[in-house]
């Protein structure tokens, strides 16, 4: 290893005397991958429904949808958007932006839509 790298202590040593179980012992090389649970799986395993609803848990402290009317802003400029283009589904503020919207390639349209999770997702 290069002297620079060693000096910066960039890389963690593989063996550390204060550890009871070393990393290489816990996860020996070549063994099947350890799959970590994703948050969704953790929450499922948590079985929150079985707890009493009065008790706070990770799921039920989530905030509800907003009561205020949804704010509509132009996807491209960020101005208030009174209009909506039925072809691309983009919101736009004025005629100039509309021209731009219509000239956008589909890839960009989808990326703009993806910003507010409105893009077409193929599964």
């Amino acid at each position: 290893m290069e002297a620079e790298v060693i000096k910066a202590e960039l890389v963690l040593p593989t063996h550390m005397s204060f550890k009871r179980i070393q990393m290489y012992e816990k996860y020996p090389k070549g063994q099947s991958k350890v799959r970590w649970k994703q948050l969704k799986q953790i929450l499922q395993a948590e079985n929150c429904q079985s707890y009493s609803p009065d008790e706070p848990n990770y799921v039920n402290i989530e905030s509800p949808p907003s009561m205020q009317p949804c704010k509509r802003i132009c996807d491209i400029t960020g101005f208030e958007a009174p209009y909506h283009d039925p072809r691309t589904n983009l919101r736009y503020a004025n005629a100039d932006v509309f021209k731009l919207v219509r000239s956008l390639p589909n890839e960009y349209v989808q990326r703009y839509l993806a910003l507010r999770k409105a893009a077409v997702v193929l599964r």
């Binding site: 202590e9 550390m16 990393m23 816990k26 350890v34 970590w36």
Partner: protein, 736 residues
Amino acid sequence: MPFISKIQRQTDYNRFPPSTPIVIDNGASYFRIGWAGETEPRVIFRNIVQRPRHKSTGETVTIVGDHDPALLKYFDCTRSGPRSAFDSNVVFQFSTLHLIGWVQMDHGYIDKFTALIRSASACVEQIDHPILITECVCNPVYSRSKMAELLFETYGVRSVAFGVDAVFSYKYNQLHGICEKDGLAICPGFTTTHVIPFVDGEPVYKGCCRTNIGGYHITDYLKQLLSLKYPHHMARFTWEKVEDLKMEHCYIAPDYALEAQLFQKGGKEAEDKTRCWQLPWVPLPTEEPPSEEEIARKAAIRERQGQRLREMAEAKRSSRINELENQLHGLEFLLQQLGQVQEEDIPSFLSETGYASKQEIELTLTKVTQSLRKAKGEPKPEQAEHEEKADSCTSDKYPLINVPDNMLTPDQLKEKKRQIFLKTTTEGRQRAKQKRVEEELERERKTQQDEERRLENPQLYLEQMHTKYKELYEKIELRKRLKTNGGHTNGSNSGGVGRGERLNAAQRERMRLLTTAAFDRGKGEDTFGAKDEDWQLYKLMGKDNDDDDDGADEDEAELARVSSRLQEIDPTFVPKLEPTVSQPTITEVPHVRPLTKEDFQIVLGVERFRCPEILFHPNLVGIDQVGLDEMTGVSIRRLPSKDKALENRLTSSVFMTGGCSLFPGINERLEAGIQMLRPCGSPIKVARALDPVLDAWRGASLYAANSRFHQQTFSRADYYEKGEDWLRRYQVRYTL
């Protein structure tokens, strides 16, 4: 400047007795670790792990935190980018070789910390210190137990305590008089935003609420917006850079709509608020326009070259004329000689010259004279006269035509056929000529009529001509456009018809025919071509543009006539440029603008407040949850006691901590937002933490330094004895 973890080797690890707890603020963005009782954490680094491959040795190594990017050149990072172990503030990955662990307690954090803490000489065999580590509100028990397991099993830690970072921050600031014992802690963090109500100095988790939005989303939004706005500079927008931009330039608008209108209208105020990031740019060396001399020199060269070409052409022409004249003389001489030679000697005489008969010589002679005339550039009419002269002696020229076939020998029959052919062609030519003459006359007559009309009423005539010209011009123009447009779609062939590109009528018809041919035959096997009628299709298709081409030619001729006439009588008339000439010059040479300084500027206008706005309206990025201001209302509603006085006490001590509360203007906005939710006249006070980023660690450090801290920890024995359900309910008391 991007944050680079400043990690220094700690040399005083052995100075701390085993009773001194280690305090860890395990945040989603940064990891802070230090000793209880101190005011600053010892080590701070970004909570990410990378497992690149070392280029020269090929081994996979573990790198925790962020580093000087220059050092990463020794590693191959293509296989694994930096990863975080957090998903909505919950640690979900606990060390792995492949998935890259939860920035590895196992082999990241504590390792790093302790490895750095230990002095070079004294080797640490055992971590004796109790550990206080932060977690999110209502951490799932799985996450908690894994963390405890890790600490106990791998590190052999004696005792552990879990606490919530926002609460520690609140308590710390309560001590400094920023907030009261009853209040609301709002913590917009890296991936989530929490609101925690406090009653009597203790958090009431029942009144908690969490929206899954935070600094990460803001940075991501800004990054996406910028790369969509400046696709050419996409590579510039690295995560670190955009994070810097966000921290430096973003602010919360007091009223989004008003602020946006300000920018929409433009003007000075908007300009002042617009920030501009100039990317490194070196102006291209500008090409100086050529000097007069240069132009003159070039013109002279061109002229010389033209002259040479002309001379060459002239020389070629004269040589050809010479040649032809020689041939002509030769032929004439031959004919003269032939006249002198006896009739029966002709074949023997001609056999030397290569000609078969006298007629052949004459034919060649006429041909040569014609080419000579052509070469000399003399007009054709003489030829016509010549032909006419020839006509007069038709009967002499075609003696065999009127003789019946049965009276002729086979040779003569052949000759007769030839003569008939010659005669018909000559006659046809004559007829065409006749027609031309008639047309000429007709045209003359028309011009005369025109002239008369013009003389009658010059003004009206001129107007009529103009309108006619215009009509014709437009007609031709339209046809051309249709044609070229159609040609376009033909050219791009099967690439589909793009937006705005229409087929012309003929092509549409063809498409229709093709589709009917392809699909109208039902689902059976392809029988196209079995019937003879099928092939008629191609005839129909082949017609295409031919029909209107004749019309087009006529129109064009008419247009030329009208425009020349107009030029004659109207000195102001300027014929429109031929579109086929002018258009290509425009399209073929697209004006390539040289890149300027402005092309390398990243302008931050609306983005400055559009991105942080998602804290208040998560809707903007498609997260259907309440924003910061409404969260306070939700939180108060969720509290079990409906005590007006308590609610007023809560709103009069709203406290903000967490990295995202650093945006300028967030206090005012939040205050206004809460005002709208609360009854008129409610006391509202919003305060920001002394240091929204580090106060959580400081609070935790203070808490752990308390002599009664050990009552709140649990040991390994407790952990195994009491079981999961206990761990789920485990809660530290924050007031000691």
